[in-house]
Symmetry: C2
């Protein structure tokens, strides 16, 4: 099958209006007066960010969702994406499954395919997505805006994906909670529903992709502040709790592991109540975990009893 | 070096205003009232689209220029790009050279870096660029708009890169012209200067990346027309002419090989003269090579004497 045939069969049916049927060299996004375009780009490589034998539809979902998660953190409404796909071989069944995974999330998140490039590679499968969203002009929620006194919130639960990877590799067993952990590793749940509340209330936000501790540290550093985080307040799923409760090393892994794709938000104190109410209305669970402080030292992560967690490294790095 | 350090050292200095110092998860493009955003994406893989030991700065240039070429063909003014880079290993000298190649073209084409993602890969180097440009609203030059009676034009010279690859591999020797051929393989010369003339005059345009014959055939097919092309009129460089003049197989290779990154444009006959004058004013050489005809059969490519070139395949496919 030629590249054109492959695109016509698997991808053209997924193209949104701006994708021009994937017949052109380019895609179009009409300007929306009074809005800025937010652009984010995340690439996933087999053997680094996922396993080559993961289900093709879940690889497609993960590639879209890690980008949707970035848009959510910026308060942006998703508008579409382009896809660069490097394929080690042609496999029509695999491609059909991959396209089905795309289609489900294209529909679930109103996130049309606009274009892309398909190339062959002598190396591993690589999926690179560039995603587009819009925010009202000048209103993108930055990573750099946290201020002393802000309350720090996270969505969902933290550490599931990092523990899910261990569960999948047979290194831990979370019993009944194990399937949930593995599913969160395979397929993030981006918090796009929360975007309007972030736009309205947040000083700063980012998605947590490289571990809570590392990413929170990064947000404080680029904002020129520090923070105090109460680790007992960090929300854990039942599966995560069952394995970390007696094992500080695993707890540390949960706090520093990657692939959460939850949102960390810095909310001014006078808006905290309104933010919590908005999150409830949007059906997204948010939990207050700490406070931004003046200072440029690294944030403190306090365990129950007041002892600070000793983090070596701090952030999981795919790099 | 962590990914953050690598970005801070090599890429943050290249970031344009919308790149937010590469400190955020996302980039911004402010909407330009009355304009559409044109998006294009081309990925290059070592061992497929370039040689792994090509100079790093020329790999960077090629990755940007193949995308700039798409923007030119759409009549778009370049606005910036995001870069997904999969690195097989860290090599600071290589990265410095790669960044220098980016910097030169960022400056030459007023084409700022807006963001991206850097990941490691167990496979070959891969560079995926998503590029942005703007056109006045509703005015993007499509690939699908060629109409019977249009004159077909190409920019520059055709076949140099395909022959440059053979020269580089020692399969041909073009003598004094050989260096020019190899340089056109390593580093395309995108025709962004021509964009205003295409916007003003072209029914359709595309950049020629997979060979003149294949790409012209594709443009006619998606436009629902056919064409007659006089191959004697196709412009050749002195180096190309010296090797193809007595060798129809090499001539065919020049007409079907990839990596020209010249522009093919379909111009209504009443605008042909104005288009040629505009091209002269913009200092871009354009040459009329044929005419669009009604019909849905494959285009005819006529040799001197009226015999049609027998093309098997027609298009070089990297895929």
């Amino acid at each position: 099958m030629s590249e054109d045939d492959l695109i016509a069969r698997h991808f053209a049916p997924l193209a949104g209006e701006g994708g021009l049927g994937l017949l052109d060299d380019a895609a179009l996004i009409a300007s929306i007066p009074g809005h800025d375009l937010v652009i984010t780009c995340d690439a996933l490589v087999a053997g680094v960010h996922f396993f080559a034998n993961d289900p093709a539809d879940s690889i497609a979902s993960k590639a879209l969702r890690v980008n949707l998660s970035d848009l959510a953190a910026k308060g942006a409404t998703p508008r579409g994406f382009v896809l660069a796909l490097a394929l080690p071989q042609q496999n029509d069944l695999w491609l059909a499954s991959f396209a089905l995974g795309l289609k489900r999330d294209i529909e679930a998140f109103a996130f049309p395919l606009l274009g892309g490039d398909t190339v062959k590679t002598p190396g591993p499968l690589m999926v690179s997505v560039t995603a587009f969203g819009t925010v009202p002009q000048g209103r993108m929620v930055p990573r750099t805006g946290a201020r002393a006194g802000d309350a720090l919130y996270v969505t969902g639960t933290i550490g599931d994906a990092a523990l899910g990877l261990l569960e999948r590799q047979g290194q831990i067993s979370a019993g009944q909670g194990g399937a949930h952990l593995v599913s969160r590793y395979l397929m993030p749940v981006p918090r796009n529903a929360l975007a309007p509340a972030l736009l309205e209330h947040a000083h700063a936000a980012m998605d947590i992709s490289d571990g809570l501790i590392g990413d929170l540290t990064k947000m404080m550093r680029v904002s020129g502040v520090t923070a105090e985080v109460m680790l007992a307040d960090v929300p854990l799923s039942a599966g995560a709790r069952s394995v970390v409760v007696m094992d500080e090393a695993l707890f540390t892994r949960a706090m520093t592991g990657g692939d959460d794709y939850e949102i960390l938000a810095s909310i001014p104190p006078q808006k905290a109540q309104a933010f919590e109410a908005a999150a409830v209305a949007l059906d997204v669970v948010v939990t207050r975990i700490g406070e931004v402080r003046a200072g440029t030292e690294a944030p403190t992560f306090l365990l129950t009893g007041g002892r600070a967690l000793n983090v070596v490294g701090g952030s999981y790095s795919h790099f």
